[in-house]
Amino acid sequence: MSEVRFSGFGWRHAGRRAWAVRGLDLHVRHGERVLLLGPSGAGKSTLLAALAGLLPDDSGEAEGVIEIDGLEPAKARERTGVVFQDPQTQLVMARSGDDVAFGLENRGVPAGEIWPRVSDVLDRVGFPYPINRSTAALSGGEAQRLALAGVLALRPGLLLLDEPTANLDPPGATLIREAVGQAIGPETTMIIVEHRVAEALPLVDRVVVLEPGGGVRADGAPEVIFAAYGDRLAADGVWVPGFSFPAVRATTRPTDHLVRAEHVAVRGRLRPVSIAVGDSEVLAVTGPNGAGKSTLALLLGGLLAPDSGRIEAFGDKRPPHRWRATTLTQRIGSVFQNPEHQFVTGRVADELALGPRRIGRSPAETRRIVDDLLERLRLTKLAGANPYTLSGGEARRLSVATALATAPRLLVLDEPTFGQDRRTWLELITLLAELRDAGHGILAVTHDEAFVRTLADRAIGLGEPDPEPLPRRVRP
């Protein structure tokens, strides 16, 4: 059990002019469970890294004091444990049990004690597989459970959770919420940063809202905070429970199919399915992980050839995957789940100019298209920035903008709202609704129920994947 005290704490990352956190005074008592909120850029993750003793001196400049049980964080590292967003970059070993053992080995726990502790903590987080299960074979939610187990095995007095469900689909997020609820006893102090407040609320008894310029804006019991500050938090991008959106539906009906797929299948990835997308409509494709949603998006995006079935689009005799890339981008624009996969240049403006230039637009036309898109997607200030340095929301807007630059009539989006804060989410919905009203057809693969509810004109669910038998847990 640990106690945390900040006095006038501030941190500025090397290479930045602005302080990430400044003038913070906060006291977290033994056994409290705190949800830390604030708009993007309020320094929430920095704060957790500072508590975990993970802000090395050479990576920035500190002011003020942090104390964990009266110790500076670097000296209290054995008392803290932290779980980050991305499970794939927290797992170290190839086998699940070895991964949990990794931290115990680091702390010099005697070999005889390691395996009982591994088994015990895996049971507590509800990890369903044997300890020699390959970590590469885990789903996102399962991998994050394992990461949580690896941290809990060290018996931290202070548990820090940095958006632990942001990279997970809803079932995965539920797994983590349950695991945290089950596995953490009253003796653990917990601080959690999470945009999706509804996920975290059952776990916490206190909410602290950070002010972007520095300091604390609000602090208290969840219901009090949301009653008093809910609308402001929602405007800042926090997913405050109870703030929903009215549905925006199509104003016109589709007149024609842009793309039609008949009984398309990809071996081992997608069972035969027929689907058509018309102009002026938003079609949502939902379904569990492994059902082949992303594969379907690749097929309709003209990026993958089906093993069987046929795809016909834009009245072309050839299927989309046989089209030249320059033809493809003028008809179908694809937006990948990870925006960074689509970046090809070193500047935001060049990124937008690439498509128009490749399809032979004149320099003047290209400049007009680029300026227009920068303006529409609020990227003008970032025109000279390197695409890889953008925040999650900015990168998402840029990836949509690059797809729009070649004016395709069909847009295929894979999890467009994934991991976005409420503000970016709302911007995306508004933009996609505008595009639909302008006659574009939009296909979105999504887990996001709010997206389907708010924007989709039709939704198609892909079937359940074959269930995998759960092997019993055995010792090696």
């Binding site: 190839a94 990794f102 931290g103 010099g108 590469a136 941290v151 996969h341 689509q342």
Partner: protein, 267 residues
């Protein structure tokens, strides 16, 4: 073609079970001395020995053949290159290809080189096919006194391999979606390759930074002496394997010298 690090052999076979460091040392001590000669005799004997030991490592012949398939291409390359560039064109003339005389000397050297490629490569292929990377890292730390931070750090990075393999595919598709494709133009193809490789590297480094932070958060750099959850033992049988490899290699080279086949690569 996939990117995977799983061992592809029966792990319970008598020699596959040996300590990874012992296996690696045996493979290197056996195959490196063979580089010293270009005669056909030594590698031929070595190759027979290696194939005879195959069942003891639990490696099926078909599996080995698949892994060694690129060697066939290398062998074909040697054949062509020898015809064009052989230093030694003594012996009986079999036939001439334009200005290039193919003689018994050329054929003997080519055969020697091809056998040598296989003989030198197979021990490593067999050993790595039967070794799990985690076991190798454990054994390097526990039995070969390799620094634990480096061995475990490398192991953690190896875990990213299949992930990066998938990432490569996604990057390739994403480039087409951006309207970038190369068609048949090799220069455009090269540019596309470089751009994809760059994006892969950015993603890999970003993951690496996060991974390092997560490892430190779990006490990787705490300065406390690490304990070992998994033990690797170096037993008498392991010593015997290494010693046998040295003796076998020495015997083959001695025989090659005594029988007059030996052709050293220096001098």
């Amino acid at each position: 073609m996939t990117l995977a690090l799983e061992p592809i052999a029966d792990p319970s076979a008598p020699l596959a079970r040996r300590n990874p460091v012992a296996k690696l040392a045996a493979a290197l001590l056996f195959s490196l001395p063979l580089i010293s000669t270009v005669d056909p005799f030594a590698p031929a004997v070595a190759l027979v020995l290696e194939l005879a030991l195959l069942p003891l490592f639990g490696v099926r012949f078909g599996v080995l053949l698949r892994r060694a398939a690129p060697l066939l291409l290398a062998a074909a390359g040697v054949l062509v290159a020898m015809t064009l560039f052989a230093a030694d064109r003594s012996g009986t003339l079999y036939f001439s290809l334009g200005p290039f005389d193919v003689t018994s000397g050329v054929v003997a050297t080519a055969a020697g080189l091809i056998l040598r490629i296989f003989a030198v490569a197979l021990p490593g292929i067999i050993v790595f096919a039967t070794t799990d990377p985690t076991d190798l890292a454990d054994a390097l730390v526990q039995n070969a006194k390799a620094p634990a931070r480096f061995a475990i750090g490398a192991l953690a990075a190896f875990r990213l391999l299949p992930l990066l393999g998938q990432e490569w595919r996604a990057l390739t598709l994403a480039r087409r979606a951006r309207g970038v494709d190369a068609g048949r133009n090799p220069a455009a193809k090269l540019r596309l390759f470089v751009s994809t490789a760059f994006a892969l590297l950015v993603g890999a480094l970003r993951r690496g930074v996060r991974l390092a932070v997560a490892m430190d958060a779990r006490g990787f750099d705490s300065g406390i002496p690490r304990t070992y959850a998994r033990r690797q033992h170096f037993t008498g049988a392991d010593t015997a394997l290494v010693v046998t490899a040295v003796i076998a290699s020495a015997t083959i080279l001695t025989l090659s010298v005594l029988l007059g086949f030996f052709r050293p690569i220096v001098g």
